[in-house]
């Protein structure tokens, strides 16, 4: 009996020892947006293969990314929603928004035959407001004359969690519909007037895919990978634009502020897709907090550099728009401004 207790204790001692300090390789933890998750999971897996550093990114939604970064339980957050002043105040210290790519929020639907539908901004807003309830509503049939739309109910699908995709989408809707702006507003978590909630982009995609007559919004790659139909939308200049790398890049080709906190929706570009958005990695500017070791900051900075340079080649195959030269330039400046105890980590 005594010997088995000793073995037992030894096992746990080893566990504790191995667990608490022996493992010296740096690992990073990140959490946040599902919008870029397919790209990040590819990037981070490749980074691990090439550089041996494990980065654990959990796609729990942009709201989650912001929250966990504020709680300092993760090393970086992922978000397609810009942190509000309230969020920044809670974080207590400056948080950098480093862009990694741009993507398109598409409206996707489940109709027999997967017809290619056109939408105008006011129609989208009214559907999500619950005012347009059936697929054969005259406004829909008017702009889609060549498609036979049945009288089925429209089942709206939105996000049940705090989402940057929602932030981008609702920012767009607030710009094109004053009723939306007044009734619902913009942000990662909304008081939706109607519909079902799905968790994460995958959740919404899953619901739309399985529910006939449904109508939801997801990042382009989710609709694409699941062979779901998505709409062409009329942009500000009056052109009907199909979401794609090209149209997203056109929307992203706008004046970029130094902090890269820019909203790309309802773009002025003639060929630009109206519901585009950047997605960012959020990190504290001054990395000496909560006893973080310097190696972690170095690792983070190297990762961010890689993601905005070599990692960009993984964006296009996954239908994300890679950062333009100007955007990369701004990102470099932001990365260089990350400091540890006041000294920049990258010259």
């Amino acid at each position: 009996m005594k010997r088995s207790w000793m073995v037992f204790l030894l096992f746990f001692a080893l566990l504790g020892f191995y667990g608490t300090g022996a493992a010296k390789e740096v690992e990073l933890i990140g959490a946040g947006a599902t919008f870029p998750y397919p790209l990040y999971s590819k990037m981070l897996d490749t980074y691990y293969q090439e550089h041996g550093i494990k980065i654990n990114y959990q796609a729990i939604g942009s709201g989650g990314g912001i929250r966990q970064l504020t709680n300092k339980t993760v090393d970086f957050g992922g978000s397609d929603a810009i942190m509000s002043d309230k969020d920044l105040k809670e974080a207590g210290a400056p948080v950098l928004h480093i862009p990694t790519c741009a993507g398109a929020v598409v409206v996707t639907y489940n109709l027999g035959g997967d017809p290619q539908l056109k939408f105008t901004p006011d129609i989208i807003a009214d559907i999500f407001l619950g005012k347009i309830k059936k697929w054969n509503d005259p406004r829909l049939t008017a702009i889609n004359p060549e498609v036979k739309l049945a009288g089925t109910d429209i089942t709206v699908v939105h996000r049940s969690d705090g989402s940057g995709t929602t932030a981008i989408f609702s920012s767009y809707l607030s710009k094109v519909s004053s009723e939306w702006k007044e009734k619902v507003g913009a942000g990662p978590s909304l008081n939706w007037p109607a519909g079902l909630g799905g968790k994460g982009n995958p959740g919404v995609a899953g619901l739309v895919k399985q529910t006939p007559g449904s109508f939801g919004y997801v990042e382009l790659i989710y609709a694409f990978q699941n062979k779901m139909a998505y709409a062409t939308i009329k942009n500000k200049k009056g052109n009907f634009i199909k979401p794609s790398i090209a149209s997203t890049s056109l929307a992203a080709d706008t004046a970029l502020p130094e902090d890269m906190k820019v909203d790309l929706t309802d773009t002025d570009a003639a060929g630009g897709y109206p519901i585009s958005g950047f997605t960012w990695i959020l990190a504290y500017k001054e990395q000496d907090y909560a006893g973080r070791p310097e190696e972690k900051t170095k690792a983070l900075v190297n990762l961010l550099w890689w993601m905005t340079h070599e990692g960009q080649k993984y964006a296009e195959p996954l239908h994300y728009a890679p950062l333009s030269k100007a955007a990369v330039g701004k990102a470099e400046k932001l990365i260089r401004s990350i400091t540890y105890k006041g000294t920049s980590m990258m010259k």
């Binding site: 667990g19 968790k199 895919k209």
Partner: protein, 285 residues
């Protein structure tokens, strides 16, 4: 017997037969879901399980060939942690309740354990977040272990108490009369006599927490890597099933079926072992 009485008796007998038939049919219906579930899992899950599935790590979105190796080890590690947190305290708590049956503290403790058992698992997850994740500043297997440990505690306490209550006082008195000190009497005489019950309590507790997801959502957090470090986030089977099942990708659905198969086999296996343990090791008085 007049005609009216005959008809009425006949009616009552028919009603009796009908009732029995109804009871049998509805009772059988109540167990149909279990077979449906097992059947679906077996059908969809068996084809997914192969060595690669069990030994590989998950792959990035959209790439084929992922596996659940880290989830398997993660679940085992979490079980080990919850064992550490709940078994010593639980067993001693059960001994206390059995030994001090009438005392006021025992009454309150028994009440508390009963209440603890009924607490929804998501509430326990929040507690673990507030007590472990926030002070630690990071998600970790440790916090997941704490949550699962709190959930296992009542099961072990109650199983220990029930088993020890069944051990006759004469055994204890005989041991004490022979001069064996109190502590040794309890630990080396009484406890082994009730070992089968305590062990089955532990196994049932493990079976219960192995499938818990809610408390791990914001404690263990999940990870695409293999991890045995208790201070870091960790993947586990139920979380994997949840993430893959609610995704839109068919190959992730297939992985979820496979993972469900493994999980159910584990849980049902534990239940079976518990039955064997109770049968074989039970000390008859």
């Amino acid at each position: 017997m007049n005609r009216m009485a005959e008809i009425s008796i006949h009616r009552r007998i028919m009603a009796d037969k009908l009732f029995k038939a109804l009871v049998i049919v509805l009772s059988l219906c109540s167990i149909v879901p279990m077979f449906l579930i097992l059947f679906m899992i077996a059908k969809n899950g068996v084809s997914v399980i192969d060595w690669q599935f069990l030994s590989h790590l998950p792959k990035p979105v959209g790439e084929a060939g992922g596996g659940i190796a880290n989830a398997l080890w993660g679940t085992l590690l979490l079980i080990a942690l919850s064992f550490v947190f709940s078994v010593p305290l639980g067993v001693f708590g059960g001994i206390f309740l059995a030994e001090y049956r009438g005392s006021k503290l025992a009454y309150l403790t028994r009440l508390s354990v009963g209440i603890l058992q009924g607490i929804p698992s998501i509430v326990i997850g929040i507690i673990a977040y507030v007590w472990v994740v926030m002070p630690m500043g990071s998600f970790s297997a440790l916090s997941g272990g704490v949550a699962l440990g709190i959930m296992m505690l009542p099961v072990i306490v109650m199983a220990t108490e029930e088993t020890l209550k069944l051990v006759p006082d004469s055994l204890r008195e005989a041991s004490l009369a022979l001069g064996v000190p109190y502590a040794r009497t309890i630990m080396k005489v009484i406890l082994p006599a009730g070992l089968s019950g305590i062990l089955s309590g532990i196994l049932l507790g493990i079976a219960r927490v192995a499938g818990e997801t809610a408390p791990l959502l914001f404690t263990a957090f999940g990870s695409p890597f293999m991890n045995l470090n208790i201070l870091k986030p960790i993947n586990n089977l139920p979380l994997t099933i949840f993430n893959y099942a609610t995704s839109p990708y068919p190959d992730w659905h297939a992985l979820a079926w496979g993972a469900s198969f493994v999980l159910i086999a584990f849980v049902l296996g534990l239940n079976l072992i518990t039955k064997l343990v109770t049968k074989r090791w039970k000390v008859q008085f």
